[in-house]
């Protein structure tokens, strides 16, 4: 056994046995204890927040006045050119002094200063160049070069451009002297805000459609049904069409062609298929029959009273009777919602997800929410049910003018021409009639006549390409041409809503409510969320900008944005916080609404570097700061973690305030985290105030464009990357 000699203990442990015991004690090395890195980071953040609070009283007055790093006020107004005629005169000496030194700058107090230009400061008399240059302080920390032209000093960032979305404060300190040797008696600051960054990449250029619009393809006869049909139903994989004939026979036929198969010879009155496409449910002779399609076996459910309508939920089969909606639960059959007991009540249709029921009560068309038991009335008296959106969030009914599309609250209505409608998974509506067939988007745009002739009961296949129609006792199928591209991409549409929502919060919070769905309203009214729809108090809401925005899902379209809100006091940015907004656009709502919101901590803005934008593709992430950084602190200070906390990507590369991490393979929908450690320093040696974490999802391959058609875009898409505010 080795005995490590410790001079510290020479006079303490003189006995050999004592030294032996000490050696034994020393030999046991500690194992590493379990440590949660999130705890370590969270504690650091907590300490730094506490430190910011403590530092408030100890900061020199000039740092308070001139110090805070700006997060900006952005305006995306294209074409805003620097207004050179506005000159703010600042008097460095006391008013009335005989030796007034006047400073002018064309960008003082401007709020959308171009990124590619020097900061010009003009003096009204010759200045001593070395002392003046030495007296220039710029926040955020920026490495700059100086040049003079007569009495004008140009301050140029060596990185080339100014940082986007940033409030700059250029201070001429009291050390500046005139050529005559007179020192300035007080510092003066020029403040301005830069414009948002240019769009990192234009919207993808749509590819020309291989199919000319206005031509149906693959038209062929599926089945001759001289008795007519009462229902048509597609299998979820769009391979098979099921239908009930006028005589009550249930038959199926392959979409590609082939002979029809009789599944039930007669007496069938309602039909539904489960989400997997494995089982059909139908009503026959007062019972509910469940048919296992592949095996061909059936089981029968004998309801306690006569069933009228059958449907599927995720939990199994459901049906209506004269008095309510029933399903099979653990204890057997049970009523899950009652139907009105007065008037003439007729169940019409279960929504595709089985969560709602359309029915009529006398002349009223109603929708019953089977989860809450609440009912809403759609349209005017006499309105007829015409169909659902495939996701079950939208409904179609008749009006005097034609077809109305609405969400299940009866809001967000759109009127389409009269006809027999069918709503596709690709957000296209077919309108059939005796004389023609039209295709259009649910907002009534892009109306296109597909064909002349009789097209009754059009019914889209789940693939959004094929459809069936009925003409002269025969059931046909055809493929519709690809739909016109949307006027705006989902990301642009969502960006627009976020901008409108944020402007409303600043100017008219009541109006902001219109951009929240039920979940969103709960988020902003919860006492524990820390979210306030109206940002009040001092410091006050100065501006906001979008830090990131991405499409995170489709069906329904889902987008996530990180919005940075900047608070000011006496026109100086002093605090900031970020909100993460999740927006959802269902087929029923037809527009993005804020569905989820979370708020980060309120941070004080200091003189240290701040992240002002994050752009990412599947292979790289670019993080832009408002300050010049020490490159050697970036390598270990900016990292990307996957969902398991493993660091990914190549070593960061720093250039011109931007840190780029390449070599990534970000998967759409997967969670990742950008971490900027507090070891990162600006060129002045200041560590960033606190670790910065940003969770994001891998970018979608399709940039959120869920439309299969990609015919040429009518005009360049606006940039989604930045937002104006006021």
């Amino acid at each position: 056994m080795s005995m490590q000699h410790d001079p510290d203990l020479d006079d303490v442990l003189q006995d050999q046995e004592l030294r032996r015991v000490a050696a034994l004690l020393r030999e046991a090395r500690m194992t590493e204890p379990p440590l949660d890195d999130a705890f370590r980071s969270a504690l650091r953040r907590q300490l730094m927040n506490q430190a910011w609070g403590m530092s408030g009283g100890g900061v020199p007055w000039w740092r308070k006045v001139f110090g805070p790093t700006g997060m900006v006020w952005a305006t995306a107004t294209v074409g805003v050119i620097l207004i050179g005629v506005v000159v703010v005169l600042t008097n460095i000496n006391q008013p009335g002094s005989s030796d007034q030194v006047v400073v002018t700058s064309p960008i003082s107090n401007q709020s959308a200063v171009r990124l590619q230009q020097p900061i010009q400061v003009t003096f009204n008399q010759p200045m001593d160049h070395p002392s003046t240059e030495a007296a220039v302080q710029i926040a955020p920390a920026t490495t700059v070069a100086f040049s003079w032209h007569e009495n004008t000093l140009s301050v140029t960032p060596t990185a080339g451009n100014l940082a986007p979305n940033t409030q700059y404060q250029v201070t001429i300190g009291p050390g500046a002297k005139t050529a005559a040797g007179q020192s300035l008696t007080a510092p003066k600051t020029i403040t301005f805000v830069t414009q948002p960054p240019p769009s990192p990449s234009p919207s993808p250029t749509p590819i020309a459609s291989p199919t000319p619009r206005g031509v149906l393809t693959n038209q062929h006869l599926l089945a001759s049904i001289p008795d007519g049909i009462t229902a048509v139903l597609w299998s979820p994989d769009s391979s098979t069409v099921y239908y009930i004939t006028g005589k009550g026979a249930l038959e199926s036929v392959p979409q590609g062609g082939g002979s029809a198969t009789i599944l039930a010879a007669d007496g069938v009155s309602s039909l539904a298929i489960d989400a997997a496409g494995d089982q059909l449910a139908y009503i026959r002779k007062g019972n509910i029959v469940i048919l296992a399609i592949t095996a061909g076996t059936t089981i029968e459910v004998v309801p306690t009273s006569a069933p009228v309508l059958v449907g599927w939920t995720t939990g199994g089969v459901e049906w209506t009777t004269a008095d309510g909606v029933y399903a099979i639960g653990p204890g057997g059959q049970g009523k899950i919602a009652p139907l009105p007991a007065t008037g003439t009540v007729t169940a019409i249709s279960f929504a595709p997800d089985g969560a709602h029921l359309a029915y009529t009560q006398d002349q009223s068309l109603d929708v019953l929410d089977l989860g809450t038991g609440k009912t809403i009335v759609l349209g005017l008296s006499g309105a007829r049910f015409l169909g659902w959106s495939p996701d079950g969030t939208g409904i179609m009914y008749s009006s005097a003018q034609g077809v109305v599309l609405a969400d299940l609250g009866g809001r967000n209505t759109t009127s389409l021409p009269a006809g027999e409608p069918s709503w596709s998974t690709q957000d296209e509506v077919l309108l059939g009639s005796d004389v023609n067939l039209f295709e259009m988007r649910p907002d009534a745009s892009g109306q296109t006549k597909l064909a002349e002739g009789t097209y009754h009961l059009p019914e889209w296949a789940p693939n959004g390409v094929a459809f069936t129609y009925f003409r002269g006792g025969e059931l046909f199928t055809a493929s519709a041409p690809a739909p016109a591209p949307p006027l705006t991409s989902p990301l642009d549409a969502a960006s627009s809503v976020v901008n409108t929502f944020m402007k409303a919060r600043k100017d008219n919070p009541d109006r902001a409510n219109a951009y929240l769905d039920d979940n969103g309203r709960k988020a902003y009214s919860s006492a524990t969320s820390g979210l306030n729809l109206q940002v009040t108090g001092d410091p006050s809401f100065s501006r906001y900008y979008l830090l990131t925005g991405e499409i995170t899902g489709s069906h329904p379209d889902t987008a996530q944005f990180v919005v940075r809100i900047v608070l000011e006091h006496n026109n100086i940015d002093v605090k900031t916080f970020e909100e993460t907004l999740t927006l959802v656009r269902t087929q029923g709502s037809q527009q993005f609404l804020v569905d989820q919101a979370t708020a980060g901590p309120v941070l004080s803005l200091g003189t240290t570097a701040e992240v002002v934008s994050v752009d990412f593709t599947a292979t790289s992430v670019k993080v832009t700061f408002d300050s010049d950084l020490k490159p050697e602190t970036v390598t270990a200070g900016v990292i990307i973690l996957d969902s398991k906390g493993k660091q990914i990507g190549n070593a960061p590369v720093y250039s011109k305030r931007t840190v780029t991490i390449d070599g990534l393979d970000l998967k759409a929908g997967k969670g990742y985290k950008l971490v900027v450690l507090s070891t990162v320093q600006d060129v002045s040696g200041n560590n960033i105030a606190a670790e910065y974490d940003l969770a994001f999802s891998g970018p979608s391959d399709t940039h959120g464009d869920r439309h299969r058609d990609t015919s040429p875009s009518p005009s360049p898409q606006p940039s989604p990357s930045a937002s104006p505010s006021s």
Partner: protein, 185 residues
């Protein structure tokens, strides 16, 4: 710690005293060490996190009053730690046995001797846990944390002589209570 490291640490401490926002660098430097020490005493992750948070929060708040006595900054953090753990012990006891926490793998063969040796170490550390608190703390800081006597004195708020006495008494008591630790003749 070299003179250069000591100068570097003094600079960090001075900056943090002037501006609490600079405390982050000290936190980064000492977190692992303090957390490990705390965990070794409370033996439960949540409790270790609670105590560690308390220690660094107290340290941050007390920074303006910190006086450089020439000893490492860590000694001051250990002082706060010892007190915080003592507060914790008034109501709680460690939940895991000590032998679960020490790496008892010994590099040298043969295997039978290794096993016997591991057993000795395990038992002697178990005896440490039964010592009076002051003796136990002194032994842990000396043999587990490998601190100098003068630094332990800072951490425990005692003189160096008092610490030496605690260590002597503690080790002597271990020797007396662990006759079985003697190798077979």
């Amino acid at each position: 710690m070299s003179d250069l490291q000591r100068d570097d640490e003094r600079e960090l401490v001075e900056r943090a005293k002037r501006d609490p926002r600079q405390f982050g660098a000290l936190y980064d430097r000492h977190f692992q060490q303090i957390y490990r020490f705390v965990y070794s005493r409370v033996r439960e992750q949540t409790a270790a996190e609670d105590v560690t948070s308390e220690i660094f929060m107290k340290a941050l708040k007390a920074m303006p009053r910190y006086q450089d006595t020439g000893r490492p900054f860590a000694a001051w953090l250990y002082q706060i730690s010892v007190n915080a753990i003592a507060d914790r012990y008034r109501t709680l006891r460690p939940s895991s046995p000590l032998e679960d926490f020490h790496n008892l793998s010994i590099a040298e063969p043969p295997l039978e001797e290794q096993a016997a040796h591991r057993d000795e170490i395990r038992r002697i550390w178990a005896l440490v846990e039964a010592l009076p608190v002051q003796q136990k703390t002194a032994l842990v800081l000396k043999f587990q944390e490998d601190m100098k006597i003068e630094d332990i004195a800072v951490a425990m708020g005692k003189t160096a002589g008092a610490v030496k006495l605690l260590i002597h008494r503690g080790v002597s008591r271990l020797r007396d209570e662990a006759d079985s630790l003697r190798p077979a003749e």
